[in-house]
């Protein structure tokens, strides 16, 4: 097929243009955020009562969420990693669903499960608990959307373990506890750490499900993302300051994971 050299040259430029276009789209908004926030804006914004309340709340809820994720997610991840067959496949799919479904859907689903007229509503009421629109609800929402990231990472890390090491440990008299804590866990630590970092970051950024299930009450359920959204209508400074803060946090989480890190690369990155 013959083309004029001019046409060939023109066509060769297209992929480069496409790449640059994509890059601009991805980078421009963040650059705009940085450029439109002066140092004074940032400091005043962080000192705003809205910000202080949201910072404290987010820190509290995401910490609790992280601890619960690690405590409850690790045994589940271990089971999934060590078993195969259709039960594992079904459970693995279910466990990863919250990653893919829209946060608004998660919020609604949580209401339907734990709300006053939801599936577990009557039982919870009998125990004297109402979940929706409480700080506990924030933790539940964050747990729902973020723990699958940890579990995914943990399963990949546990799967990479050399079975031979665990068998040898058995011949040396190690029961399941020793095998897990002295062999499996130390060797899976990099993958677990990555998973914990990602799930924590995800919990920190959760908006839709929190809004629907926990509401937007300052000091009680208004997390950082919700505060940003609320601030838009009144004072842009806390909105910009908190946004910059969250971007900084995101950077702090991604940078240690390596400059070639891509979230989809999770399996490869969690190889020990």
């Amino acid at each position: 097929m013959s083309r004029s050299p001019a046409l060939s040259r023109a066509l060769a430029v297209l992929p480069a243009l496409a790449a640059v276009g994509m890059l601009l789209l991805l980078v421009l908004p963040l650059v705009a955020l940085v450029l439109s926030t002066s140092g004074a804006d940032f400091v005043d914004g962080l000192r705003h009562p809205l910000s202080v309340a949201a910072l404290k709340l987010s820190l509290l809820t995401t910490s609790i969420t992280l601890v619960l994720t690690l405590l409850l997610g690790t045994p589940l991840a271990w089971w999934l990693a060590r078993h195969g067959g259709w039960p594992e496949r079904v459970l693995s799919t279910l466990v990863q669903l919250p990653i893919v479904i829209p946060p608004a859907v998660s919020g609604l689903a949580l209401l339907l499960a734990f709300g006053r007229r939801g599936l577990l509503g009557p039982w919870l009421e009998r125990l004297g608990w109402t979940l929706p629109f409480t700080t506990a609800a924030v933790v539940v929402a964050e747990l729902f959307v973020s723990s699958p990231f940890f579990i995914q990472s943990a399963v990949a890390a546990f799967r990479r373990l050399d079975d031979e090491l665990l068998t040898v440990a058995r011949t040396l008299g190690a029961g399941p506890g020793r095998r897990f804590f002295r062999v499996a866990l130390p060797l899976s630590l990099p993958g677990l750490r990555t998973g914990a970092a990602l799930s924590w970051a995800r919990a920190l950024g959760e908006f839709g499900a929190t809004l629907m299930f926990a509401g937007n009450l300052s000091g009680r359920t208004q997390t950082l993302p919700l505060a940003i959204y609320t601030a838009l209508e009144t004072d842009l400074r806390p909105a910009k300051a908190l946004s910059l803060l969250l971007v900084a946090v995101a950077l702090a989480v991604l940078l240690p994971l390596g400059h070639t890190f891509f979230v989809g690369d999770l399996r490869a990155r969690t190889a020990t």
């Binding site: 031979e164 068998t167 040898v168 440990a169 011949t171 040396l172 008299g173 029961g175 060797l187």
Partner: protein
């Protein structure tokens, strides 16, 4: 003494049927690839399900399928040195050896230290497995198994991962060690040099069955199968 009669169902429908009695000291397990040697070792350890059979070690019954006895691997007191040694990569040589070591506190530490010295590993005590040579790793894996004071020892191709020179040096050392230990030890190998150094009773496994159970010298004088002949002429390679 290690006495067993085992029927093991393997992947691909292949069956392993073996009945052995091994006294203290080394026993060679020879056979072509796929004959079932590793399966046999793993069955003795309790790491693969046994369809039917019994396993006795000394006065203890470790397995009796008909009597519903199946002692879990962690309680069988059978040491294992797998093919690639499977040293714990995140632990030092000392911590590897001490992992299953018996005893308490100071006495335990002393025993571990004595073992390290006996196997010439003392200077490497603080190193990680990735920082020591193949021959040293082999010794570390052996020390680790011995620290748990096993009543029997299984070694799967203990010298296969070593280069020819290290292999020869370690071979003599291993043969001596196994003879000194007063416990039954099964050594799987594909190398006739190993067999000659150990000069022990041979169990010849082919296609999942024991086709011969004789002293090495007898096997050498009258190889019963084509594989045995090839093996004695050094024509067998690990694939």
């Amino acid at each position: 003494m290690l006495a067993l009669r085992l029927e093991v169902e393997r992947r691909g429908g292949f069956q392993l049927e073996a009945a052995l009695e091994c006294v203290a000291g080394p026993t060679l397990v020879l056979g072509p690839n796929g004959a079932g040697k590793t399966t046999l070792l793993r069955a003795i350890l309790g790491a693969v399900p046994v369809r039917d059979g019994e396993l006795r070690l000394g006065s203890r019954v470790l397995l009796d399928t008909r009597g519903h006895i199946d002692v879990p691997t962690e309680d069988r007191r059978i040491g294992w040195v797998p093919q690639e040694y499977a040293l714990f990569p995140h632990l030092s040589v000392t911590d590897n050896v001490a992992f299953g070591a018996r005893g308490e506190g100071g006495e335990r530490a002393r025993r571990v230290q004595a073992l390290l010295e006996r196997l010439g590993l003392a200077p490497l005590a603080a190193r990680r497995p990735s920082e020591i040579s193949g021959g040293e790793r082999q010794k570390a894996a052996l020390a680790r198994a011995l620290a748990a004071e096993p009543e029997a020892l299984l070694l799967d191709e203990p010298l296969a991962a070593l280069d020819a020179r290290t292999r020869e040096a370690t071979r003599e050392f291993l043969a001596r060690m196994l003879r000194e230990l007063a416990i039954p030890s099964l050594v799987v190998t594909h190398d006739v040099g190993d067999a000659e150094a150990l000069d022990a009773p041979v169990v010849l496994l082919e296609q999942g069955r024991v086709v011969a159970s004789t002293p090495f010298q007898v096997l050498r004088a009258e190889p019963p199968t084509g594989f045995a002949r090839d093996f004695l002429q050094g024509r067998v390679k690990l694939t």
